[in-house]
Structure formats: structure tokens, C-alpha cells
Point group: C2
Chain length 334, copies 2
């Protein structure tokens, strides 16, 4: 059973309607009606040591920040703003008090930066390694909520930033190859990702996008989620995302940069789809916020996600199905 | 640094006020204003394999139930009702699909029983053992919220059920001594605790209590939390709680039943304080709901929690300070 299978099983067993639940399982956040105009957004994510991070090279303050950031990114993906943070922290016996102080400082700093406050949680002992679960409650006007299910044939597909950087950074950290300052930004993309809160909020507020989510499992998988829920397909060309220093790092480590771009996880950039007539407004907004955005393809009325690659004859492109080829915590044997 | 120290550190670093946050860190739930009359309650708890449970003898459906129940118990402790459930599930590679199906069935059943629905969450890989974090959002009228900080000198101290049963049950499960049907209820208290949702809701609705919390770390520690936050003290006599089959199990395992009663954790019973004039109403309500309640002591204007024990001369009682002598995930060396 892979990750989607687990989520489908849980969803099928517990499916139930509630008048105030506007969106349940299946999007970046649950959406709960607060009043006639506003909704709460709720998301929860767990970071597990030796799966998501390694204390040997993850500075504790950056881990504290990241635990907040990855959840704030889910709030951003709907177009909302974060308000309350809840932390469940698992610590091994004999943990280092200095480590905890630094972790807490990073978490507090991220809360302040994103305008939210720690409102509760619990601490437990962990038999091995640190466990960090954070839940964030956000808020936004209900009519501005951007779901995964709104993509329409003809939409342009956009991404913020340069996906693949976090996967490259993780590989550099793993191999201890972080000495070259040219690659510092890649390591930082893994250690301390920046949620695109302001860009997402303005895209939603100005009704510029039809669908949006954040990139946690890789572009190929996350865009496939948008396509499945919107009952559309997508064709993308990753060429525009091969931005230095990613190709240089790929060369150094003998990796395929497109693999990082399409299947690398945990970038916490945004992927969104928008009517072509909004392209100029999107470019203008992103420029004002100094966030790079790249138009990487289009939505059509097929199914799945295909990547356009140049044919060896050099005269035309071929399309390869890459749906759900990103990160899966529970990959099935092929 | 012990468990209270960790929570104080996190609280001090992130302390911030928010207009809608009526109660932050330090009670069973955070309380968030929903509208002029209603509030949301938010709680989150993690169950870690080999710390909180053992898959070798914890049936997966009961574990699924318990993950919901322990959080519903926090909602109950404020006087609220649960509405939305969020699950973050960590599973080891190669987990058993049948185990997951049974776990999910138990979780779904508990959600139905308590009238709440699974609204979101995530799944991650765990390097070793199952990790279950559940967050629950509940709701209630703001003016009925019962905090830990409301106890007043002169209040009677009450507990529901018979604390110590879960600790005894855990010990029986650990030792594989669950064959005797006389002890089945003790094992069940650990494997499948029942939150006192209805009793707590009616106590709050009828304004019968000044303070309330649920028993997760043991009576001595949890009542000490009420005393600290209410700036009062308490004297209790555990004799009224020595109820069969607890003393028999203690005899079998050569344990002190009072140790289980005062320091055993995870009973998810209620401890509450109430003006003496409400005693008859409390007894009457509990009888109608068929929940045992026992008056175990009184609140005074001292500090800490003391247990009354008979003096060896048989003529008078001595009081022993037992504050915070319950379960601590991070005990400090004495």
C-alpha cells in the first residue's frame, strides 16, 4: 500500500459530512467555516529524524523554523494566513537542553516572522530520535480559498522559485559537500525552506489562479494531485527550471538535474494554474514581491502529467508520462 | 530538564497575545473564540510505540480508538464536544496492511461514537515503530469553559471512575498476565480508555464545577497542575479509590495499589473541584449517567497536593506531600 492508498483507506472509512467542513481530506488544508465570510484552515505535518532530517547536520534553530514553515506553506497554498501553531515534540531520553533551547528559538522566530503564535501541544519521550509534529490553524475569506480541484483546460501552469533545490541541498548535506559557497543556497533550501506566504495570499486575494498547492512530494506528484482532483491533464517542460547552481551541483554529484526538478520533494514552492489572460498580472505581482515565477506548461483535457522532452532527431518534442513519479514514503515494488 | 521545564521553556519563548486566543499553553486545550458565544477547543497528543503502547499486545482497532479517545478526553476536560479530528500517522517500512485497516476501523468507530469526523492529516514513514499524533478541534459555549485555574479554597475534590486501573492494566499486559477474566477491565482501561465526555459536558453546562482536567499523568501530578494554576493546595485521601479488582491485582503483582492510584498515568478519568453545596447535584448527575464519582478531598489555601495517611498510632492522620509525583516523560535524577 503506497501513500495515496493509505490516505484513501483512511478517507473511505471515515468519510462523513459536516455542515461546517467545506473541504476535508484531499487538499493542503481542511477548510472549516468560521462565520459567513471567514474560514479556518487546518493542516498538520510531522518531521521524523532520519526520515526528514538528521541532527548531525541540521542546525536545531533551522529545524524549529522548518517545522513551522512546512505547515505555513500548506496554509499559503490555500491563500490564507497562519494564526495559531500547535507543537507535539518527541525527544529521546537524555536529550541536550542546548539543542532544545535553540530549536525553540527557531520555532519562536518563525512564528513571529509569519505572524502566528504557539497556542498548545504536548511533549513525549521518543525511543529513538526527535519527532516533531506541528499543526497550524490559518484564516482567510471563504470566497478566496484556492483548492487543488479548480484547474481548467487552457490554464497555464506556473511554479514559484526553482524546484529541485531542496533535493539537491539534501544530497549535498548527506554527502558533507556543503563547503562550496556557490551551493549554500541549495543546502539552505533543504535546511530552512521559505514558504511563499505573501505571493500566495495576493494570488488568491486578486483571484488570479484557478488551483494551487505547495510542492512537498515533488512537481510530478504534486501536479498530478491537481490534475486528478481537477479531472484534467498537464504538459510541462522543465527546461525553464534548470537554473544555476542546480545544474552545476548535478554535475558535481553526477545526478540528472531534471530528476531533482521533477521528483525532488520538500521545496515548499507553489505550483498553480491560471487563465492565460492573467499571465501579465502574475508576472507583475511576482516581480514586485521579488519571487521568481516560471510558466512551465499548460492544462489540457487529457489525464495525468506529461513532460515534454526533445526528440533525439532534434526536430520535435516527445511527451513522457511522469504522473506521481515524485517522492512516496511508501513506494510499492515495481 | 523535566516535562514541565520543556513546556515552560517553549511557553516563555513564544508567549504572545492574540485577541481570539482565550487560553493558550497550560490547560487541557487551547481555547479560541469562534464568535460572540462559541469557542473552539484545540488539543493534540502523540502516542509513540514502545513508550505509550506495544503492538505485540495492543490490538490495532483499540489503538485507533485510543488515539481519538485520549484527545476527546482533553476536549471533555474543558466541558466541550469534539467536532474535527486530524491524524498524522508514522508507519515503519513494510507495515502490515491488515494492521492498518484494523487501526483505521477503530479510529473511524471512535469518531462516529464521539460525533466527530476525520478532516485531514498526513502519513509519513517512521524509522522504527508506529507513531500516532491526533489533533482534535472541539466546540462549546465560551461562558461554560472549565479551566484548571478556577479551583477555590473550600472546594471538594472529585474524581470519576477509579484511577490506577490503566497503570495496573499496563503492568498486566506487559507481564502477559491478562488471562484472568477478573482483571479484564484493568487491561481494557489501558488498551481502550473511555473519555468521560457526557459527564464533563453536563458538569460544565450546569455550572457545577470550578476547575477540571483529565487524568493523563496521574492524580498526584494532575491535581498539582490544578493547584499551581489556581494558587491553592489540596489534601486528598486515596482510601475511597481502593476498589476491586485493583487491590487484588496489586497483591498478585506485589505492588502498592496507592502508588497506581496516585501516580499511575493514562486513566483519562476526570478530576474536578466543586463547591460543597453542589455535592448532591454531582452525585445525582453521575448516578443518572452511571459513572462512578468519588469525593476524595478538599481544596485549601495552602500549596501543593498532600495525601492523608493513617498514622501508625491509629489515632490520627499524617499528610504527605505528593505534588507532581506522577508520570513524567523526562524525570530528573533525584
Amino acid at each position: 500500500m503506497n501513500e495515496r492508498g493509505i490516505i484513501e483507506l483512511l478517507g473511505s472509512m471515515t468519510a462523513a459530512a459536516a455542515p461546517d467542513l467545506l473541504q476535508g481530506i484531499g487538499d493542503d488544508c481542511a477548510v472549516i467555516r468560521k462565520n459567513s465570510r471567514q474560514s479556518w484552515l487546518v493542516t498538520m505535518d510531522t518531521l521524523v529524524e532520519s526520515v526528514h532530517f538528521d541532527r548531525n547536520w541540521h542546525p536545531p534553530d533551522k529545524l524549529g523554523r522548518k517545522a513551522v514553515s512546512v505547515n505555513v506553506s500548506d496554509i499559503a497554498a490555500m491563500g490564507g494566513i497562519p494564526v495559531f501553531v500547535f507543537l507535539s515534540l518527541g525527544l529521546p531520553a537524555g536529550f541536550d537542553a542546548g539543542w532544545l533551547t535553540s530549536f525553540s528559538r527557531g520555532l519562536a522566530e518563525a512564528c513571529r516572522e509569519f505572524g502566528c503564535i504557539l497556542a498548545g501541544g504536548d511533549t513525549v519521550r521518543s525511543p529513538a530520535g526527535v519527532l516533531v509534529t506541528v499543526a497550524v490553524i490559518g484564516e482567510m475569506p471563504t470566497r478566496q480559498v484556492v483548492l487543488r480541484s479548480g484547474a481548467k483546460a487552457g490554464d497555464a501552469v506556473w511554479v514559484s522559485g526553482y524546484p529541485g533545490r531542496a533535493a539537491a541541498g539534501l544530497e549535498l548535506c548527506r554527502l558533507g559537500r556543503t563547503e562550496d559557497p556557490a551551493f549554500a543556497g541549495l543546502a539552505e533550501a533543504h535546511l530552512n525552506p521559505q514558504p511563499r506566504l505573501e505571493l500566495a495570499r495576493r494570488l488568491a486575494e486578486n483571484r488570479l489562479v484557478h488551483s494551487m498547492m505547495d510542492l512537498s512530494d515533488g512537481l510530478a506528484t504534486d501536479l498530478a494531485h491537481i490534475c486528478t482532483r481537477s479531472k484534467v491533464g498537464a504538459v510541462i517542460d522543465p527546461a525553464g527550471l534548470r537554473m544555476d547552481p542546480l545544474p552545476a551541483a548535478a554535475g558535481l554529484l553526477d545526478k540528472d538535474p531534471d530528476q531533482w526538478i521533477l521528483s525532488g520533494g520538500e521545496d515548499f514552492e507553489l505550483v498553480f494554474t491560471a487563465p492565460a489572460r492573467h499571465s501579465a498580472a502574475i508576472v507583475d505581482l511576482a516581480a514586485r514581491l521579488e519571487v521568481p515565477v516560471t510558466r512551465i506548461g499548460r492544462i489540457d483535457d487529457s489525464q495525468g502529467v506529461r513532460a515534454a522532452r526533445p526528440h533525439p532527431d532534434g526536430n520535435h518534442a516527445v511527451e513522457i508520462d511522469i504522473s506521481f513519479s515524485g517522492y512516496d514514503h511508501f513506494p510499492e515494488p515495481r
